[in-house]
């Protein structure tokens, strides 16, 4: 029995609240998906307009008190830079507001389903947030930005929009735009570029929230989850925003809401908790996304996910556990190869540097390396970091460098013995099929 509430060989975690009260503000129960294709296995019924109004109360009538509430909450965007939402809104307001507000639901992380889960369960909350942002910035148009493959999300949003139209819920003119299913199609400068008539590629230019070409006024791009929190805050509740995360562990993908200050260990336990099933402690966890950071299990256990530090975990909100039998270097090589293939191909250092790094990482994973190759990897990483228009190369380099640090002993073993101490080079984390 004790196995179901603790990791084998690991002291029992400190539980702040019993499992029965894990209902969060955005999601009341975890959603489970298959690890590979992200097929939904088990979920509570989604909220229609009536259920939504019962749960959260009527839509906020005015947006004036939103800015102070936002500032007090410290809500940041989910693009990885932890950019304060209130700063973005104030910057746009000082430039005359925005022409368009964009709900970014193009979830590019292959193992992440948090945006899909939110759009399925709480479409009206996202639309409320979009309405609040549009009203605040004086925008007459709203766009929901989705990947072309997201048919389910498109369907639930269309149904929600129809419901709102029939019930005469006020809101901006909203359109759903389907972006190409590429990794960088959800990058915010790519979204702004596309909506201004340009290519769906990241651009080199002004900081987030700055004015762009569209109608002479700015474009607000926020993640769907950020807008959902905005809708909650606009209703006047004293809310401390948590974060939606996707936990990949134990052959499942689980979307749940992490509370402020929740540790990686308690989150993993909540995600895989099924009665009577033993849970094995992972070797390491990948935090943030495929361009995220590896952290050894002993360091990750007590790492808080949200809160003031907002450590590596929040980016795209992925927490992936590396099983004890898997090789972290093989995993890193597979992820890096994926990231190298999915660059925008615009900036030289990234276009040439990432494939070189991926090649070296692959040789390291197979044990075909000499000690000086590890230094070559480090030098090459230094030459790539910070030299792209977007932060794609920086993320890829971070993945590799944290792998070298976290799997230090494996690097040693691969270099000295020319082979892996673990199960060889079979990657565990899902990599989408190339089309």
């Amino acid at each position: 029995m004790t196995n179901s509430s603790t990791f084998a060989g690991v002291s029992p975690p400190v539980r702040t609240s019993p499992p029965s009260s894990t209902a969060g503000t955005l999601l009341d129960a975890p959603l489970r998906y298959t690890t590979d294709g992200g097929l939904l296995l088990d979920a509570p019924p989604p909220d229609g307009l009536v259920a939504h109004t019962t749960r959260y109360g009527p839509p906020p009538a005015d947006s004036r008190h939103v800015l102070p509430a936002l500032e007090a909450s410290g809500l940041t965007g989910r693009g990885g830079a932890h950019y304060p939402v209130v700063a973005k809104l104030r910057a746009l307001l000082s430039g005359g507001g925005a022409e368009v507000v964009v709900a970014n639901g193009a979830e590019s992380e292959p193992a992440s389903s948090k945006d899909a889960a939110l759009l399925r369960q709480r479409p009206h909350l996202v639309l409320d947030g979009l309405t609040v942002a549009a009203r605040l910035l004086g925008a007459g148009q709203a766009v929901i930005w989705l990947h072309e493959g997201a048919a389910d999300n498109r369907g639930s949003l269309l149904a929600a929009l129809r419901e709102r139209h029939d019930a005469r819920v006020p809101g901006p003119r909203t359109s759903i735009v389907l972006a190409p299913g590429r990794y960088l199609a959800g990058e915010s400068s790519a979204v702004r570029s596309a909506l201004a008539g340009g290519p769906v590629l990241p651009t080199f230019g002004p900081a987030p929230g700055a004015r762009t070409a569209l109608g002479g006024r700015g474009t607000l791009v926020q993640n769907v989850e950020t807008l959902a929190w905005l809708a909650v805050l606009a209703r006047g509740g004293a809310v401390r925003p948590g974060a939606l995360v996707t936990v990949v562990a134990d052959g499942m993908r689980t979307v749940l809401e992490a509370d402020e200050g929740q540790t990686v260990e308690s989150l993993l336990l909540r995600a895989v908790e099924l009665p009577g099933r033993p849970v094995i402690a992972p070797r390491a966890v990948l935090l943030g996304g495929y361009a995220g950071a590896w952290l050894a299990w002993d360091d990750a256990r007590t790492e808080p996910l949200c809160g003031p530090s907002r450590s590596p975990a929040t980016g795209a909100g992925l927490v992936a556990a590396l099983p004890p039998f898997a090789c972290g270097l093989a995993e890193t090589a597979a992820l890096l190869a994926y990231l190298a293939r999915h660059g925008a191909g615009q900036c030289g250092p990234c276009r040439f540097g990432l494939p070189s790094l991926a090649g070296l990482a692959d040789r390291l994973a197979r044990g075909h390396v000499r000690p000086r190759d590890v230094d070559r990897i480090r030098r090459l990483a230094d030459e790539v970091r910070g030299r792209g228009a977007c932060h794609h190369p920086d993320g890829a380099v971070r993945l590799l460098e944290t792998a070298l640090a976290t799997f230090r002993d494996d690097v040693e073993h691969h270099v000295r013995r020319g082979r892996c101490a673990y199960g060889g080079h079979q990657a565990v984390l899902p990599i989408p099929e190339e089309r």
């Binding site: 700063a87 030289g348 030459e383 970091r385 910070g386 228009a389």
Partner: protein, 113 residues
């Protein structure tokens, strides 16, 4: 000339840059090329003499990928903003710390917004 003394930084637009490499010939003390031929530029504010070289490099670039961006004057006491005593060629090898701190400010040259 006021323009010559205002502190400025040399910035590469990596989307425009195609690694032609003329900048490294025109301003060979300022710009280095990496192994693929793309420019590596200093991250600190340039002095007037360096600015002249930077402007020449920017003018020579057929892709118009080099920009001289004004930066806020460093407050007194801060010094030259982390500038090393001497500049020894290739930046990432000589001073990796420099590159790391340059990530944020490069895209947002004038403060947090």
């Amino acid at each position: 000339m006021a323009r010559a003394t205002a502190p400025a930084r040399l910035v590469v637009d990596p989307v425009r840059c195609e690694g032609v490499g003329i900048c490294a010939y025109v301003a060979n003390r300022l710009v280095d090329l990496d192994r693929w031929g793309y420019p590596i530029v200093p991250t600190w504010p340039l002095d007037p003499r360096e600015q002249r070289a930077a402007r020449a490099a920017a003018a020579a670039c057929p892709r118009r990928a080099l920009l001289l961006e004004p930066v806020a004057r460093t407050p007194p006491g801060v010094g030259a903003g982390g500038r090393p005593a001497r500049y020894h060629g290739l930046l990432p090898h000589a001073a990796p710390q420099e590159r790391q701190t340059a990530e944020g400010p490069r895209r947002q040259p004038s403060g947090p917004l």
